[in-house]
Symmetry: C2
Subunit: 337 residues, 2 copies
């Protein structure tokens, strides 16, 4: 078994205080690996990093067009959003297009993950509803797919529901493998999540970005979702978040998406490459530093994009009084971009 | 170099999704190791896990007695509290005993780490002040020490201030080593933090719990702080937090304290043992599962304490709809209690 690779570390003063190990794959659409660190064949749950793949049937079915989903609504279908007012408004708008109420969302309610939004919601005297769930846009997309399929949406989170069957088939097509025997779990929002080798996830995003290996309808759907992300990057995550800022500064050059438990994936369409990262311990901060290093290495951007990537490849840690006390930085083979 | 040990893992469905490696030491006051997993000689920043050691001079100086610090105020001096109303009230009370205002605290302000408290504060229309800082009680203790030493408290967070010199000397005495050449960093609240071998931290807590290896005044101070923690466990952390619940159910049998970046330490006074844990990647959830396993193994409690420890050694993860989707559990050598 291949050992895990050091991908990021956290310093305090002159010492390394914590370390993040994991695996990282950069693949083209044929599966050729341009970079492989750690065990890229180990199956990992894609979690929210593969939401854009799960949204393919929403577009490919014609549902997004039929119900007039906007760029914002399509971007939100690929998002793990912060529950900020704009996200909530976008999710509500998507449901309105379908003529469905909030009660049809099966994702559950939680306080906005954006702290300021959570406090503002509390200050208003209200509490969270399903629209604040970071997955509400994805679920609105599932409901749209159910409407397009003219099937009863109730139970759309279940693996056996026609909606999830379509979504799983899209994942299988993108990964290039059957998930029938894959390790299976339930995601935070109630839908199934399947484990797939990290290299397959990277290859899936190479296909997603380039259309290579997809049929024409699926390739068109992938382009539509990417364009939505670049057109409305705020919907993808939110204020100060990695994916939103990356899509802003790398507009058209990278589509990136985090997932829970230290997963990060993305497409570099101009290069025909896909990236997939798993931090063994589940730390988002480690995955983000590693993703920044990979984007810098392969895209070699200049100007604002280079400055932003450098700030994420080595991210300052400040204490409550504002003094810099250390940093989170890409490490090991990724160090020194 | 000794490899790190698997201490905890996170499952989803039937699969292990994430893993936490690190080191764990259980020591007596002489330094004899009863359990050593991973590299227990590697220096680690003790962070907030050693607050009780840093509070020794507060008691030993006579300051706590002279200014009439209560059990709650002494417990808060050892705490990383959630900024809940009771914590804020206790910190304010400690400052009032000293005749000092909130502006003398040098820890900086942050929103309460307890989410409900943060939202309630926002709903009240107010914002956070230094009293909400999770370290405000420790800082009130530093101010008390400055008053007892009859030195100007300004700059009490600096390594060269008489207060921090006393605090560092107390750490050196407990660790049984000089920190003059130790790796040095700044903690989240502005004070210095020093790296010490994990085994030394475990031995320090064996001394703290038993008084062995301490002079009579320091041993008395250690007993006073432990009694304060068991008398007012809510002050140590807060609602639903590991350390508060552990001190409630193991009243008198264990004094435990977490620190940032996956550090956890504690004393088992009845057994004359100390425990220190460092999760390499900095994850609190991993340290807590490992600490629960160690407490269960060495204390062998029955009844409520056993039930609580089992619930923390294998902690259910639920999604937003309330369904169990996995667990965080002690692993490797610690598995299976």
């Amino acid at each position: 078994m291949t050992a895990s690779a050091l991908l990021a570390e956290v310093t305090r003063g002159v010492a390394v205080e914590s370390r993040h190990y994991g695996a990282l794959a950069v693949s083209d659409a044929s599966g050729r690996l341009l970079l492989a660190l750690g065990d890229v064949e180990r199956p990992v749950f894609g979690r929210s990093a593969v939401k854009a793949l799960q949204a393919l049937p929403l577009v490919e079915s014609g549902g997004a067009e039929r119900f007039g989903f906007s760029d914002r609504e399509l971007a939100l279908a690929c998002a793990s959003h912060g529950g900020e007012p704009e996200h909530v408004e976008t999710a509500a708008g998507a449901l309105a297009r379908l003529g469905l109420g909030v009660e049809t969302l099966e994702c559950g309610a939680h306080w906005p993950t954006n702290d300021a939004a959570a406090r503002a919601l509390a200050a208003s005297g209200a509490g969270p509803i399903a629209l604040h769930n970071n997955c509400s846009g994805k679920h609105a997309g599932f409901l749209c797919l159910a409407c397009a399929m003219e099937t009863d949406p109730a139970g759309y989170v279940e693996a056996e529901h026609p909606v999830q069957r379509e979504v799983t088939a899209a994942l299988e097509g993108a990964f290039g493998l059957s998930l029938a025997d894959a390790a299976f779990g339930i995601d935070g929002c109630g839908i199934p999540t399947y484990a797939a080798p990290l290299a397959s996830i990277a290859r899936a995003f190479a296909r997603f970005g380039s259309g290579e290996g997809f049929g024409p309808e699926r390739a068109r759907a992938a382009r539509r979702l990417q364009q939505a992300g670049w057109s409305a990057p705020f919907e993808i995550a939110g204020t100060g978040r990695f994916d939103t800022e990356a899509m802003q500064v790398l507009n058209g050059r990278a589509f990136v998406k985090m997932g829970a438990e230290g997963v990060h994936a993305g497409a570099l369409p101009g290069l025909g490459l896909g990236v997939a990262i798993k931090i063994d311990d589940g730390a988002t901060r480690g995955a983000e530093a590693a993703m920044a290093a990979v984007l810098a290495r392969f895209l070699r951007p200049e100007g604002d994009a280079a400055t932003w990537l450098a700030s994420r490849e080595r991210r300052s840690l400040r204490n409550w009084a504002g003094a810099e006390v250390g940093e989170v930085r890409a490490a090991g083979e990724l160090a020194g971009g």
